[in-house]
């Protein structure tokens, strides 16, 4: 009887926690939308809304690899790059054929996601044989490879079909009136700007739905079992390779989705170190670590706060990044060091006492 009681109690607790997570996203959307309507948002901040959604998706998806699967991956920006370019390429090709932006963008999202997933599997198969630091370094390398390969691709289209080259656009040998879609380091220009804040928020919700439900299922249990003890997981018949790869490719797929959002927010898409390089991968990892490894809601909030922080500190000019760094270090110490955790406990105890007093 006692067991039954705790069961229902606990089930409702996970559900409640998930509803809060979804609720935060919806509430944030409504509040921002109200401010937008009232004209109280600066154009600078307005321009940040779609990237914000992108960062949240990236952070949540990377948490699946780092927190749930327990594999340190530093190549997340690479998968985002795959999603961005494959979808931008699609949208550029289909702009005339599918004039309805809604249908075209939905298809673009699917294509970006699927391509990133395929790359996730392709890279995951060799890479997931490694562990820890080795895995981190190899994923880092793969991320860079993807970015650099994209930089040398020239892809054009004329009446005879598609032409590809790794030299320059002239060697494509296009006919008169042919269209160079991917121009090497100059990337893809003229991608339709289909990304909106609303679509971004919907994609966040879908990402959360996938990740949260995955974690709280048989599959998620298997993934976390492998994370906690690989040998024991094998001994009870869990297919380690399969579930590791699954987590990795779902994570890659969702990074691809974020890439689609990114690509359709800009008119020029270029693979540069700052957007698809390891800097980006590290930034996403910082969100995950700061928000709490394995904590989905935490990484979501960390992504928002850390993206907004540099903008909010803009008034401080030169000291901006210095203060950003100090805040980052202070938060890490507060959340992760033994001393910081003690302070947290004390604060918690203080509030609990207050509550009981009130009651």
């Amino acid at each position: 009887m006692n067991g039954m009681k705790t069961k229902t109690h606990n089930l409702s607790r996970t559900t409640k926690s998930n509803i809060i997570t979804y609720g935060i996203v919806v509430a944030a959307y409504i509040i921002v939308e109200i401010f937008l309507r009232a004209g109280m948002v600066s154009s600078l901040l307005e321009g940040l809304l779609v990237p914000l959604c992108m960062y949240v998706i990236l952070a949540v998806s990377l948490n699946l690899t780092v927190g749930i699967s327990g594999e340190l991956s530093l190549g997340h920006a690479g998968f985002m790059c795959v999603g961005a370019f494959s979808s931008a390429f699609f949208s550029r090709c289909m702009e005339e054929m599918i004039p309805a932006a809604g249908i075209r963008f939905t298809l673009a999202i699917l294509i970006g996601t699927v391509f990133a997933a395929l790359f996730g599997i392709l890279i995951g198969v060799p890479v997931l044989r490694l562990k820890g630091d080795y895995l981190a370094i190899v994923t880092l390398a793969f991320g860079e490879i993807i970015k650099n390969v994209v930089n040398v691709i020239y892809l054009g289209r004329d009446s005879r079909g598609f032409h590809i080259s790794t030299k320059d656009s002239i060697s494509l040998g296009l006919e008169q009136g042919g269209d160079v879609i991917i121009k090497g380091p100059q990337g893809i220009t003229g991608t339709p700007n289909d990304s909106t804040f609303l679509i971004g928020v919907v994609l966040i919700l879908i990402t959360l739905f996938i990740v949260i439900n995955l974690i709280n299922s048989r599959t998620g249990r298997a993934i976390m079992a492998i994370r906690d003890n690989r040998i024991a997981a094998e001994s009870i018949g869990i297919n380690v390779t399969k579930y590791k790869l699954l987590a990795f490719s779902v994570s890659a797929a969702l990074a691809g989705t974020a890439g689609v959002l990114y690509a359709h927010n800009l008119s020029t898409l270029q693979a540069q170190p700052k957007n698809f390089g390891y800097n980006m991968s590290i930034t996403i990892l910082v969100f995950v670590v700061l928000g709490g490894i394995g904590n989905i809601r935490g990484s979501m909030i960390a992504a928002v706060v850390l993206t907004l922080l540099p903008e909010l500190l803009r008034g401080l000019n030169d000291y901006r990044m210095l203060i950003y760094a100090v805040i980052l270090i202070a938060t890490m110490i507060f959340t992760s060091s033994p001393g910081g955790q003690e302070i947290q406990e004390r604060i918690k105890l203080f509030f609990e006492r207050k509550k009981t007093k009130e009651a």
Partner: protein, 252 residues
């Protein structure tokens, strides 16, 4: 027909012959002990039986099927489950989820079903919860179902490991030093639990143990291993009184 039949099993690591010409026959429902001094090769035999190592010689038959050289997960599906000398729980998962992980292959639904929360998800999860709670109740762990596994006291962690192994519905249960690190009271309780598991689940159990009280208390037959080779085998009391065995343990 014997449940487990091991013939001429051997493995070499480089030049070292860790296990040599090992034979073992265990009947259905038996409680069998594998003992020997440290480094005799007991755990190596467990690792051979569960496919962690591939034998260089010999074969292993489980319930009439040849499982020699199969992978760990296949061997588990054929019906061998084990616990570990140094406890290996899924430390960040709850006690309940540890057992549910053990039910993984017996209550399947696809990943997509899980993500989309189709009706099957709720049905199978409910089955899993019930089955897992049943198992936990057997081991007196049902009140701790929602504790993190790493927060359990040592003795209960050992029990949870057995519960998780049983969740895979094995024919043969291998226990690697189940009483290691336990005080005499806990050992007494463990003996009861092991006997109970055998009777309640009609389980066949092979265990490695150093605690002679436990071995002589519950094992019906024994094999003594020394330097990778069989030193003695047979009825427990006879084996334990064998001068060769006493010499190996206490020195001549």
């Amino acid at each position: 027909m014997a449940l487990l039949e091991v013939k001429n099993l051997g493995i070499s690591f480089g030049g070292l012959r860790a296990v040599d010409d090992f034979n073992l026959t265990i009947e259905q429902g038996e409680l069998y002990g594998l003992i020997g001094p440290n480094g005799a090769g007991k755990t190596t035999i467990f690792n051979l039986l569960t496919g962690v190592y591939k034998p260089t010689d010999g074969y292993i038959m489980l319930d009439g099927e040849n499982i020699t050289g199969k992978k760990t997960i296949e061997i588990n599906r054929h019906g061998i489950a084990r616990t570990f000398q140094n406890i290996r729980l899924f430390s960040e998962l709850t006690v309940l989820d540890n057992v549910k992980a053990g039910l993984h292959n017996h209550h399947p639904y696809s990943t997509l079903t899980g993500i989309l929360r189709l009706p099957k998800y709720y049905r199978v999860e409910k089955e899993m919860n019930e089955r897992a709670m049943e198992l936990l109740k057997v081991f007196g762990l049902d009140k701790e179902a929602y504790y993190k596994a790493s927060n359990l006291p040592y003795g209960q962690q050992r029990k949870l490991e057995i519960a998780r192994a049983l969740a895979t519905d094995p024919k043969l249960l291998l226990l690697d030093e189940p009483a290691a690190g336990m005080n005499p009271n806990e050992t007494q309780e463990l003996m009861k639990t092991i006997r109970f598991v055998r009777d309640e689940f009609h389980m066949t159990i092979l265990l490695i143990e150093h605690d002679m009280k436990l071995v002589s208390g519950i094992c019906e037959r024994l094999t003594v291993l020394n330097f990778g080779q069989i030193l003695a085998e047979g009825e427990t009391t006879a084996v334990l009184n064998d001068p060769k065995v006493i010499a190996a343990y206490l020195g001549e």
